[in-house]
């Protein structure tokens, strides 16, 4: 029986991609299907260096279409399977991820956003929000965690496996090129010592017993002959998704009690926004901070309450309104003014946010 990858807990200094590999190990992932693309290659590099020590597997596929489909296949075989990609690779993943959405497969995919559209830059952006939350030809029945630092990359990669296998929706960890390559310290741990129980995987196919006699037949479908059949299936899925949304949605916020303006951001940009809001509040500026941690499902209740109360959002993102678009839908009907600080593909500093807030508040 191979040793546990992490015994107890340990303070370490790592790059983001490495953190993902270690977290996947800690979460009990059985296999990674991988295809290289910058800036996530090191997830694969570290997984392949570590996996043999702990009896885990790896398969390099011929492209991302295959990486996505093999991940679906791994999951169907009852393995905790995952893959990672970015940019154009994420675009290719939409076909297999649509199948995962259709068949309610607990796939886990880590996305390290880079510039878009197309090949753009290998570096950074927050421009894959639309694609990761609402991609493919489905109805966005996905769960997306947007991390902001290495500790979260570790915590939420482990959580992603549990969430996926518990609720059976394709689950994503949305990072970016800066998080992938930055070096930070964090605590890596064996989930058991933190009271985190790992949800067990189970096979979809090859179950024991005679179908129709010992158990219902396994019918996995991503295609239907009749529109009404599709409608019925989807209605069931929507109900399931709505039911779990309040359990799954996460956010963090502060400074809302007296705020006249709320800075809303996600992922790595929220670090700059947090620092900016803290600095501004110290100067007496009445500004608050709101950060959705899940982009799907969004923390709709908290968002609407904030929108009703404060009435003015400054949406800050390294994209041209991809987060803003999601927020507008969630807050529809609330009397909230949506201001923007959009810098597609470019990093945003605390100074940028402070300037913009001062421009608005005068």
């Amino acid at each position: 029986m191979p040793d546990k990858p992490i015994e107890g807990e340990k303070r370490v200094f790592m790059t983001g991609n490495e953190v993902v590999a270690w977290a996947a190990l800690a979460a009990g992932a059985d296999i990674m299907y991988g295809y290289p693309i910058t800036p996530q290659n090191e997830i694969m590099h570290y997984w392949t260096r570590l996996a043999p020590r702990y009896g885990r597997e790896f398969l390099q596929t011929e492209d991302e279409l295959s990486a996505g489909f093999t991940t679906c296949g791994g999951v169907l075989a009852g393995r905790k399977a995952f893959t990672a990609t970015a940019g154009p690779g994420n675009t290719l993943m939409q076909e297999p991820m649509s199948m995962a959405e259709a068949m309610r497969l607990p796939t886990v995919v880590v996305i390290q956003q880079r510039g878009g559209p197309s090949t753009a830059t290998v570096i950074y952006s927050q421009q894959e929000v639309t694609m990761t939350t609402l991609g493919g030809n489905g109805e966005g029945l996905r769960i997306v965690y947007s991390t902001a630092n290495h500790q979260e990359l570790f915590d939420y990669t482990i959580k992603a496996f549990n969430t996926a296998w518990k609720y059976r929706f394709p689950t994503f960890v949305l990072g970016d090129g800066y998080q992938a390559k930055m070096r930070e310290s964090l605590t890596i741990y064996d989930p058991a010592i933190r009271g985190i129980e790992l949800v067990q995987a189970e096979p979809f196919l090859g179950k024991p017993g005679v179908p129709g006699v010992d158990r219902p037949p396994t019918q996995l479908r991503n295609t239907y002959n009749v529109e009404e059949e599709l409608y019925e299936v989807l209605e069931g899925y929507f109900k399931d998704y709505e039911k779990i949304a309040p359990e799954v949605a996460e956010h963090e916020a502060f400074g809302l009690e007296d705020a006249e303006l709320v800075v809303v951001s996600h992922g790595v940009v929220s670090r700059a926004c947090k620092a900016a809001v803290k600095e501004l509040r110290e100067e007496g500026v009445r500004v608050g901070y709101f950060r959705p941690i899940t982009l799907r499902p969004l923390p709709v209740k908290a968002l609407r309450e904030t929108a009703e109360k404060v009435g003015k959002f400054l949406v800050v993102e390294s994209a041209q309104g991809q987060l803003a678009r999601l927020l507008k839908e969630a807050a529809f009907g609330c009397p909230v003014e949506m201001l923007e600080l959009f810098k597609p593909g470019v990093g945003i500093t605390a100074e940028d946010v402070v300037s913009r807030v001062k421009e608005i508040t005068g």
């Binding site: 303070r11 370490v12 790059t15 490495e18 693309i37 310290s185």
Partner: protein
Amino acid sequence: MRCISGRIVEAYIGEYASGKSEVAVNRALLLAARGRRVNLVDLDIVEPCYTLRPLKKKLAEMGINVVAWETREMMGLGETGSIFYPANRWALRFPGDVILDIGYGVEGARTLNLVEGAATDPDLKIFAVVNVGRPMTGSVQEIVEYVRSLGRVDGLINNSHLGDETTVEFVQDGARMVDEAARQLGVPVVATTVLEELARVIGTRDAAGHPVWPIKRFMPHALW
């Protein structure tokens, strides 16, 4: 500390994010501050000039010859591959000292195969930079196994740290582990590199008796 008179040629290799660039930049600055002619060569063939890019101008102003691409001059990054900076091939022909930063790390000492004269240069020393805070080199056994995979290594450098959370204790634990690994590998420990503030506390020798090289942090200003 070795007597600094003859030509100094040092190549820094090691695990990804072990601190090769930070040590290389500091080393180049130390030598330049002593009035020496210094060439700092960016030999990262996967992420070229990512660490040196924002520092290039500043270092050039201090009289260091930075041998690296300007990002704008390059074509294709990351997985699309890159063109070896032409001057890199002849890096050992530059007059003065040569500090080679073998970025990314994956090829170890083999990247030097691309540099003319590396196999026969009489002054070349290849140092492996080790940070025990990096889990792949977090134990003596792992350090030994890892360094053995690098190819030719003439010495180890203990660069153990946890970024902003580094403590003297952590650095000293690293010093002891690297010392034991060096013993098993049959190579010397060249130095322990540590932030100036902590170097003042540790003194001129680390817990294993090896020289302490105080360093300043430049990498947070780099791309990553």
